[in-house]
């Protein structure tokens, strides 16, 4: 006990100034032990928190209505990679950009695009009827399936994917409104498992290059 090197003390002058206890006292050792234990507990706790965040991956059950009236669930396109985007047809800028990006990517991918099912899910079920969605996606690739549903079913889908959506009234005082919303592509593998969240590039070629390595896999 007494043969501890005295050099240990000046290494931490701040601590010794704050704690007037002699360096080699059992009380100090006890304090160090308590400190280390607390530190270890914090490490374990933060690791557990990380694991919990890690398990809250986007994806889950949904049961919605396609623009052609069919029921589409999270199981409908099993066997294909799914690229899921949440948006709304009254969205003047960001959502058409995303659908255009998908459209271009599909054309760049060529035959490989057959392995991918793009899905557009509305965050505005109040206005996005199947008929409006059909018109909306008609301006883009015919492969894109657009889904709507009851407010509760859309809410459940948003929650499953961790999507943020909030109504913002138009500046002109009309009944018109916009939605602030998450704008990402969620990539699910053919088994319906979450794989990646991709940013939305304006250039569909960039999206195609990001998707290519995934589509080459056979999970």
């Amino acid at each position: 006990m007494n043969d501890q090197p005295p050099a240990a003390e000046p290494e931490n002058p701040g601590a010794s100034a704050a704690a007037p206890l002699p360096a080699k006292s059992p009380r100090r050792r006890l304090l160090v032990l308590i400190g280390l234990t607390l530190f270890a507990l914090i490490l374990v706790a933060s690791a557990m928190a990380t694991i919990q965040i890690g398990t809250a991956k986007p994806g889950g059950k949904f049961n919605l209505i396609a623009s052609d009236g069919r029921t589409v669930t999270d199981r409908t396109y099993r066997g294909k990679w799914e690229l899921i985007y949440f948006g709304y047809s009254f969205c003047p800028d960001a959502c058409p950009l995303s659908l255009n990006s998908i459209t271009e990517a599909l054309s760049v991918l060529g035959p490989e695009a057959d392995r991918l099912q793009p899905i557009f899910i509305t965050i505005d079920p109040e206005r996005d009827t199947p008929a409006i969605l059909a018109q909306f996606v008609a301006n883009f690739s015919p492969s894109i399936v657009a889904l709507t549903g009851s407010a509760a079913d859309i809410g459940a889908a948003e929650k499953a994917f961790g999507v943020y959506a909030a109504r913002v009234n138009a500046e002109d005082g009309s009944k018109n409104y916009f939605m602030d919303h998450s704008s990402f592509f969620y990539l699910m593998d053919p088994g319906g498992r979450y794989v990646a969240t991709l940013p939305v590039p304006a250039d569909g070629t960039v999206l195609a290059l990001r998707l290519k390595p995934y589509l080459a896999e056979n999970p």
């Binding site: 003047p92 301006n139 500046e171 002109d172």
Partner: protein, 142 residues
């Protein structure tokens, strides 16, 4: 006479240019996507080949809908839009209005925009005054 604004509309080339004092503006590739719903965005590029700045202070799309200058802001994947009261077109600059960024937002369209059609937008600049451009409704061609 030298400083009298000269309005030149070159519809055939799809380029409208205006010379006013030291700001010489060109407005190119005015386009909008076809839509299903009542809101749309129009895009264009404003160039200033002159020696003085100009400021876009208002837009008017009255024949088809109320409109305003808007900007889409991407905050880590969370999209929101904000109104811009003015946009400075600095001397020598090319200011782009493009998807995912600045755009002219049309609200409460009387009818959806159909590919192959066109509509006018009047841009009001502090120095150049009113400039009317023809916006082509077409798919994105970058």
């Amino acid at each position: 006479m030298r400083y009298a604004p000269i309005l030149v509309l070159l519809f055939g080339l799809g380029v409208n240019s205006v010379a006013a004092q030291e700001a010489v503006l060109t407005i190119e590739h005015a386009w909008a996507r076809p839509t299903a719903a009542a809101n749309a965005a129009a895009y264009l590029t404003i160039g200033n080949a002159g020696t003085g700045d100009d400021i876009l202070t208002a837009v008017n799309c009255a024949p088809i809908a109320p409109c305003m200058v808007h900007e889409t802001v991407d905050d880590n994947g969370r999209m929101s839009m904000h109104r811009l009261d003015s946009v400075t077109i600095a001397a020598g600059a090319h200011v782009e209005f493009r998807p995912g960024a600045r755009h002219i937002m049309l609200m409460n369209l009387k009818s959806p925009l159909v590919a192959g059609t066109s509509f006018p937008i009047t841009l009001h600049f502090e120095r150049a005054g009113d400039v009317t451009v023809t916006v082509a409704v077409e798919q994105d061609r970058h």
